[in-house]
Amino acid sequence: MKNRLAHWAAALLILGGLLASVGIISLCLGPADISPARLLPALVHGGDTIERTILCDVRLPRILLGIAVGGALSLAGVILQGLFRNPLVEPYTMGISGGAALGVCLAILLRLGKNFGVWSLPVAGSIGAAAAIFAVYFLSIGKGGLNIRNLLLIGIMISFICSSLITLIMAISKVEDLHGIIFWAMGSLEQPNPLLVRIAVIVSVVALGISYFFCLELNALLLGEEEAFHLGINIEAAKRLLFILASVITGLSVSVAGIIGFVGLVVPHFMRLFVGGDHRILIPAAWLCGGVFLVFCDTLARTVISPTELPVGVVTGLLGGIIFVYVLCRRPEGKSRCSI
């Protein structure tokens, strides 16, 4: 058992180190390169220099948002995959992103931005996400409680309905709106509002803390719902709370940063291979790894063909897809179904 604790500590240290190094590299890189040696002086006694402004007002918030959103999406992925015992579920399967996207499209179409400023898109996204969550949740409450299989099917259906409506909106909207919708839908960590960044970071960290209290429930749920019940788990309460938690952090991530795919699907799988399926380590490890992955992808996105910036969703999709296929192919025999 000591051995296992050492393993866990090592995994967290490595991931923490990776996060720090990716963060520092990301701080240094950009249109104005700042060498690592000058990072600390510029931050500590930079005064009002341009370097300090770039670091503190442009790059640092972006990195923080990357960690918060990457962590939140991975966490939602771990929770939902554990809840459904289905390795293909990800935060966006549940119709949450569809709802948020629909909200944002409507906001752009109705030009709410003119009246409500920078808040209009995130607020519209949150409302859309919340509407989707409520629809999925209340439609799948059966007589005996939350029906997990229905939840999944209804979530997928809501996703389809939303994406059809979005296509409809795009078909009838003007060209300049279209660009806004498409760019938003591909996701971006560029968030000019520092308060939103702060909210995202706080919610993400708090969600990590709350979900950790459910690691034993998630472990027991690996055996199936009835078995978890036999082990004294109040499964109805656990399912509800975990579903709502995953929904809220997904909805918030989508509202703040748009649709950034694959993080919530790939990172939990990757971490399961690395640290195992025990949620006591999987939850923090996936959160950290999600942050590392998203900050890394975002740094690539804004430096590869600088000054043009790629949408970060494209990078995560490409990189994540390749990693996912690679991991699936080299998976040892017999592990494929059971790792979840």
Binding site: Y212, G224, E227, F229, H230, L231, G232, G334
Partner: protein, 269 residues
């Protein structure tokens, strides 16, 4: 120990067990037998509270189980079911999950005591040697033993088993049931198990409850229940009941249609 009175309990589909009355004395092994779909598993699910009773009550050591917290119930009743998925975990991790009802909200790691109890449970079911093996890679018989070890790690007073010998060869069937008998004696564990094999049920159980069409047809000692009239009545099958020459317990033999035919021909002549 366990006292079931006037229990009626069922599913939305309409199937239900009706007016069940059963007293399980402490320290006994009760075998639940009966044809497929007669309500045996439904009884177990009612005892674990997976199913809500429509009427009647189940009392565990005098307390209505509905008044217990789920976690407290899991400290008293452990279940070995057929449906358990085992995931990608080692035998030891799997058995340690049996300690789940003993964790506090603010404790995430198992204590030395938890580990000791899990090790003991594995030792008494002979799976300690497999502790680092992956659950999905051990044999069916070993898996069944690991399931029992996990149930023992819950330190229950009552152990429920749903067809613990299905899919096992006779060596493992007897091995599992001998083990259950030993646990019953060594830990004063009360056991209720659903069995399909009437002979194993007669050999290992102190008392048998024979279910038919959602009701208890007969409850009593194996000699009383495994009577050829009762068995033929419930199972609609021609059988012969003899005594096991060593254990003196009843055993049931089915008679094939062809043999019955031949016997009739023979008697005619």
């Amino acid at each position: 120990m366990l006292d079931i009175s006037n229990l009626t309990c069922g599913y939305d589909s309409g199937f239900a067990i009706r007016n069940i009355n059963l007293r399980v004395p402490a320290g006994e092994i009760i075998g639940v037998i009966g044809p497929n779909g007669s309500g045996k598993t439904t009884l177990l699910r009612a005892i674990t509270r997976s199913l809500k009773p429509a009427s009647g009550a189940i009392r565990l050591e005098g307390t209505d189980i509905r008044r217990l917290k789920i976690r407290d119930l899991a400290r008293k009743i452990a279940v070995v079911s057929q449906s358990a998925e085992s995931g990608f975990m080692t035998v030891e991790e799997f058995v340690l999950l049996g300690r789940t009802p003993y964790y506090d909200r603010f404790r995430f790691l198992e204590t030395k005591n938890d580990l000791k109890i899990a090790r003991n449970a594995m030792a008494s079911t002979d799976v300690l040697r497999l502790k680092d093996q992956i659950m999905s890679r051990i044999s069916g018989g070993e898996r069944q033993l690991a399931l029992i070890a996990r149930a023992l790690a819950q330190e229950p007073k009552l152990l429920l088993l749903d067809e613990p010998t299905t899919y096992l060869d006779i060596t493992h069937q007897v091995g599992i049931l001998d083990l259950i008998r030993r646990l019953n004696i060594n830990f004063a564990l009360t056991v209720i198990m659903v069995l399909h094999d009437l002979n194993l049920a007669g050999e290992y159980c102190h008392r048998l409850a024979l279910f038919n069409k959602g009701a208890i047809h007969k409850f009593g000692l194996p000699e009383e229940v495994l009577n050829y009239r009762i068995i033929e009545d419930v199972y609609k099958t021609v059988v012969i009941v003899e005594k096991n020459p060593i254990s003196r317990k009843p055993y049931v033999m089915a008679v094939s249609e062809a043999a019955q035919e031949a016997n009739r021909e023979h008697n005619k002549d």
